[in-house]
């Protein structure tokens, strides 16, 4: 994928563990997002999705750090970029929206001022022009009555409106990539659908690529072109949305799909995946899903499965699947 917009290779992000050891939370992750494409990164809480996103924009909270790997945006390596250069990347090339619109906006600044800041941080524009553009962004993200909302403080806006303001902030400097970290998780269901539609529409209009981070396969179904499934710091399956959702290979993806009410067949009993994602200090030497897997083999306990390429650009990391495939 030479024309990839964002290319992440071997990303390893860790936090300090007991006795000076480093505990990886993102473990040798490879990702690629093409121009205008929407890639969904899917997995349960605690599997390293958000840390992957924060690693990409260089905002891993201390004392975490990126130990290895490369993050290239339009061919340019972002790791090791000077602070000021990285600042120009954030917002202008890669923008982010977060899960909690309620706490992600500055409570003592008006919504308008926060959008204006996102514009003026990256472009020299007159104050009136910045305001005009912020109002246009309000319009674009479907905020009713922009002049009034422009002067409103976050606490005067509903959750859905706050998330729209976040999206306006993210789009303010016309980024090529928008990372949306659980953008709808904190919103109620009707608002979720609106926000997803908005994101999909904006991405189409502006050609912005999206890296969507979610645990909700319903969201994936609505927005993503391709899907990468993450488990315990590793990408375990990837492929087009159709391939992954309709014909998943990895037992973890199977499990996720079967636990989804919206994707289950009528009358079918929803299945849960027993157990929880192991914490980074409890990762087994073999396959990390082995302890929760219904079809685990003897080899799964002994050795971590390699990445197996499948048809149509898909790939999976599973001994059971690799054994069946002709490769």
């Amino acid at each position: 994928m030479s024309e990839a917009l964002l290319h992440v290779e071997g990303l390893l992000t860790s936090f300090p563990g007991a006795r000076g050891a480093r505990l990886p939370v993102v473990d040798r992750v490879d990702l690629a997002v093409a121009r205008g494409e929407a890639l969904a990164l899917v997995g349960e809480s605690g599997c390293g999705k958000s840390m992957t996103a924060l690693s990409i924009v260089g905002l891993v909270p201390k004392p975490g750090r990126i130990d290895a790997g490369s993050i290239r945006m339009r061919g340019r390596e972002l790791r090791g970029l000077p602070v000021t250069a990285m600042r120009r990347v954030r917002g202008a090339e890669i923008a982010m929206i977060f899960q909690e619109p309620a706490t992600s906006l500055n409570p003592v600044q008006t919504a308008g001022a926060q959008v204006v800041e996102a514009i003026t941080l990256h472009e020299r524009v007159a104050r009136g022009e910045a305001r005009r553009r912020a109002l246009a962004l309000f319009e674009q993200v479907g905020i009713p009555d922009p002049p009034v909302r422009f002067g409103a403080y976050p606490h005067q806006l509903s959750g859905g409106l706050k998330q729209r303001v976040m999206i306006a902030i993210a789009l303010a400097a016309r980024p090529q990539l928008l990372i949306a970290d659980e953008p709808t998780t904190a919103l109620d269901v009707t608002i979720q659908a609106q926000i997803l539609e908005l994101l999909a529409g904006l991405a189409r209009e502006t050609g912005t690529a999206i890296l969507l981070i979610t645990h909700d396969l319903g969201v994936v179904n609505q927005l993503a072109d391709r899907v990468a499934v993450m488990y315990a710091g590793r990408i375990v399956e990837e492929g087009t949305r159709a391939a992954v959702l309709a014909a998943p290979h990895h037992p973890y993806t199977h499990g996720l799909l079967r636990s989804m009410p919206s994707l289950a067949q009528p009358g079918e009993r929803l299945a849960e995946i027993p157990g929880v994602v192991p914490a980074p200090d409890a990762w087994p030497p073999g396959c990390r899903f082995e302890g929760r897997c219904a079809i685990a083999l003897a080899v799964c306990r002994a050795r971590e499965p390699e990445r197996t390429r499948l048809d149509g650009g898909a790939a999976v990391r599973c001994h059971a699947v690799a054994g069946e495939s002709p490769q």
Partner: protein, 321 residues
């Protein structure tokens, strides 16, 4: 806002009444008039002198109940004087207390005002600095210095300052006060310096903790994700939000600028309200002491109302109503 202020004033009035009743119990019921008079006049004063003194100072009236004239009691007199700010004369030397307050406010303010206006920006900027360099040597050294500074007794600063800067280096007078503008600064400099040193450690530590807490909030991450740099994030996002808790700490102090610092004034011989309070205690001047406690309560309530009003200025989420 108006409704709030009215309600708050009513609560304040109830509190003040409680303070006045408590003062009455303490100074008029627990301490008998005979005690007060003997303390003022000395153990060997003749009985006639004591009787006369009691009449002069209104201590001869019945305490709470006078069948002849219900309003002619010590309680009624106490409440009337306090509520009308008609404080009467000192028990010790018969100087009008109002006169004494007027004379003391100036010297008190000449120390507390510079202390406040210099101390707040000093502590805030130092805290901003160590918070900005968090988890580096600057931060650690800063915190250690703060803990050291706040662990040393104020008395050490006072005596050390007087010895080093007053006696050895002769930069400032050791103590004393002169309101003449040409020399006022020389007398006030040392107490202000000592006050700054004694207070800065605890304040920097508190403000630093507030800044660090705000730095970890989601909106700070949003600001960084927008592309804002460290300095901008601190100045535009963290500082305005951190001001909210800082304000509680600061605004409540403002009314007490008028009453001065008891320790600094008594050690540096500054004739402010702090000194007056200490003198009143030492000379058994209960009349003056009552007034000081009463004024302290009033100022405290004023400080709290002021803080609430200040909240509405820095936090758009707060509406008083």
């Amino acid at each position: 806002m108006l409704g709030y202020l009215l309600r708050r004033t009513a609560w304040g009035a109830a509190t003040v009444l409680g303070v006045l009743l408590f003062l009455f119990a303490l100074f008029f019921l627990y301490a008998t008039p005979q005690d007060v008079a003997r303390r003022a006049l000395g153990e060997k004063a003749p009985p006639e002198a004591i009787a006369q003194w009691l009449v002069n100072h209104g201590y001869d009236k019945p305490a709470v109940w006078n069948p002849a004239d219900p309003l002619d009691t010590r309680l009624a007199e106490h409440l009337r004087r306090m509520l009308l700010f008609d404080f009467g004369r000192s028990d010790a030397d018969d100087v009008p207390i109002a006169q004494r307050l007027r004379d003391g406010v100036g010297p008190s303010l000449s120390v507390t005002l510079p202390l406040f206006t210099l101390g707040l920006p000093l502590a805030l900027s130092l805290a901003l600095l160590v918070a900005f360099f968090r988890e580096t040597y600057i931060d650690r050294v800063g915190v250690v210095l703060c803990v050291l500074a706040m662990s040393v007794s104020v008395l050490v600063y006072i005596l050390g300052g007087q010895y080093l800067l007053g006696k050895l280096l002769r930069w400032f007078p050791i103590s004393g006060f002169d309101p003449a503008p040409s020399v006022l600064l020389r007398f006030v400099a040392l107490p202000v310096l000592v006050g700054l040193l004694a207070g800065v450690g605890a304040n920097v530590r508190f403000y630093r903790a507030v800044f660090l807490e705000e730095s970890g909030r989601d909106y700070v991450r949003t600001a960084r994700a927008k592309g804002a740099g460290d300095a901008r994030v601190m100045a535009r996002h963290v500082l305005p939000n951190a001001l909210i808790p800082v304000l509680t700490n600061v605004v409540v102090e403002i009314p007490f600028l008028f009453t001065g610092s008891i320790l600094l004034e008594s050690f540096f011989g500054i004739p402010g309200l702090g000194s007056i309070t200490v003198d009143a205690i030492q000379s058994n001047d209960f009349a003056t002491l009552r007034v000081m406690v009463y004024l302290g309560a009033l100022l405290f309530i004023a400080g709290q109302v002021l803080t609430d009003v200040a909240y509405t200025l820095v936090d758009p989420r707060v509406r008083l109503g």
